[in-house]
């Protein structure tokens, strides 16, 4: 049978499940809205340098990712369906399906956050929108790429919630710092050629993380 479609079926299942339980829409959105509000209030009338604003944008994206990206594995464990899924198909299919879902989730989230951020915070004016949005996209894919296997790891542990950011932060740091730097370039209106090195780093990070995850996922998913 067309096994190439199996990851897609798992991806579709996650999407439908999301629509029915509306977790992302409720919990995640509220988290994003709350955080953005806090940031706006704390900035107040002050003139905040754009480097700091760039950093804060990615802090918000990082913590939103931490809130949302582990659900796809933790939910399977909590509801007892991970054994069911393990009986149905190979580990790699499960990984790719859930990775695709996480990529879609975090891309949607970060696009929303980035739009809201530009709209709400007046000091944050991006001159090179192309660099900005490429950074958002590549950064999100890298975030999902690293976070998915880490989510699978913590889903098997006892104290899932707080463990996820603890494990993720050191791994994601190179990605986040590069994204912040590229965002700064975007605000400054640099030429795309200046940001190419950063894009290379983001792309290779995503590729390396996903490749490593594909090879290691079986050890995490199956006992």
């Amino acid at each position: 049978m067309m096994t190439g479609l199996i990851p897609y079926q798992i991806f579709v299942k996650e999407i439908i499940s999301e629509f029915r339980t509306r977790y992302a829409l409720n919990a995640l959105m509220m988290f994003v809205v709350t955080t953005l509000t806090m940031v706006v209030f704390s900035l107040g009338d002050n003139d905040v340098p754009y480097e700091i604003l760039s950093g804060m944008l990615w802090i918000i994206i990082f913590f939103s990712a931490m809130s949302g990206l582990s659900r796809t594995f933790v939910a399977e464990e909590e509801r007892g369906t991970s054994l069911t899924l393990r009986l149905l198909t190979k580990a790699t299919n499960v990984y790719i399906g859930k990775l695709m879902y996480n990529i879609v989730l975090i891309c949607s989230l970060s696009v929303f956050i980035a739009l809201a951020y530009q709209f709400i915070i007046d000091d944050f004016v991006v001159q090179s929108q192309s660099i900005f949005w490429v950074t958002i996209l590549l950064g999100s894919i890298g975030l999902a790429g690293a976070s998915t296997i880490l989510a699978a790891i913590i889903a098997k542990a006892n104290t899932k919630g707080t463990l996820f950011p603890v494990l993720s932060f050191p791994i994601l740091l190179p990605l986040l710092l590069t994204c912040i730097r590229a965002t700064v370039l975007a605000v400054e209106g640099a030429f795309i050629s200046e940001a190419l090195k950063d894009f290379q780093i983001l792309i290779s990070f995503a590729i390396v993380m996903i490749a490593a995850s594909v090879m290691l996922f079986n050890f995490v998913w199956n006992d």
Binding site: E51, A146, I149, L150, I153, I154, K156, A157, N158, T159, L163, V166, L167, F169, P170, I171, L173, P174, L175, L177, T178, I180, R181, V184, K197, I201, F205, V208, M209, A212, S213, L216, F219, V220, D223
Partner: protein, 237 residues
């Protein structure tokens, strides 16, 4: 496993003692004559002594990490619990050396630049290694089954290991961009890589490097052997 015989242990003890004494006691003068005098470098002065301790400790903590990762890979391949034992023992020592390296680096930073922490590329890298060690042990403490614990922490150590090249390339770019005020000499590779230390200091430095590495292996073999004995004791209960 490495079971150092008595000669090695004696040699190691003497070596490290010599390194410590010479490193601290040799005076710095403007015109060094002979082996027992260090050059006086304006700006660096006595603080140069830090290099004998801080760099070998940092090096050892990185070595320990890669050993932990290597044994993690072996554990995933064979499921032999002994490999997991080696992985944890290595990581524990690595954590200790990493803390020491961070502290010695921080003290040096205080005397050299006036503040305990500066977020310069190498400082940040050692701090991130500390975070990785911390995450590794937090993960282990959150899993009860031995097999699961070994497998998951091995996977995490490999994921963390894979990000190391990114630290090496990404950090210098980022830091110089965000912190243009860093002192020029820290942006370069420093005296170690460029080998512009005085010859006698170089000797003591390498002696220290070798000494700390041997010390690491000695402590590692002790940890392994005690842990194995513990395991045997528990399984015969």
């Amino acid at each position: 496993m490495i079971n150092m015989n008595i000669f090695f242990k004696v040699f190691l003890s003497l070596l490290l003692t010599a390194v410590i004494i010479l490193g601290i006691a040799i005076p710095t003068v403007s015109n060094p004559q002979g082996f027992f005098q260090f050059p006086f470098i304006p700006g660096l002065e006595e603080k140069a002594r830090n290099i004998f301790f801080h760099v070998p400790m940092a090096w050892t903590s990185v070595l320990a990490f890669f050993m932990a990762m290597f044994y993690g890979i072996q554990y995933l391949r064979t499921k032999n619990p002994d490999y997991d034992l080696r992985s944890v023992s290595s990581a524990g020592l690595g954590l200790m050396f990493c803390i020491l390296a961070t502290v010695t680096g921080s003290i040096w930073a205080k005397f050299n630049w006036g503040s305990f922490w500066n977020w310069d590329p190498r400082e940040t890298s050692i701090f991130i290694l500390l975070l990785i060690y911390g995450a590794y042990f937090v993960l282990r403490s959150a899993i009860e089954e031995d097999e699961k614990r070994g497998a998951l922490s091995a996977v995490y150590s490999i994921i963390a290991g894979v990000t190391v090249p990114f630290f090496v390339f990404v950090m210098p770019r980022i830091m110089s961009g965000l912190h243009p005020g860093s002192l020029g000499d820290e942006q370069g590779s420093g005296p170690v890589v460029e080998m512009n230390m005085a010859p006698n200091m170089l000797v003591i430095f390498f002696a220290s490097l070798i000494g700390f590495t041997m010390l690491y292996f000695w402590m590692y073999s002790l940890r392994i052997r005690t842990a194995r004995l513990e395991q045997q004791h528990y399984s015969t209960e």
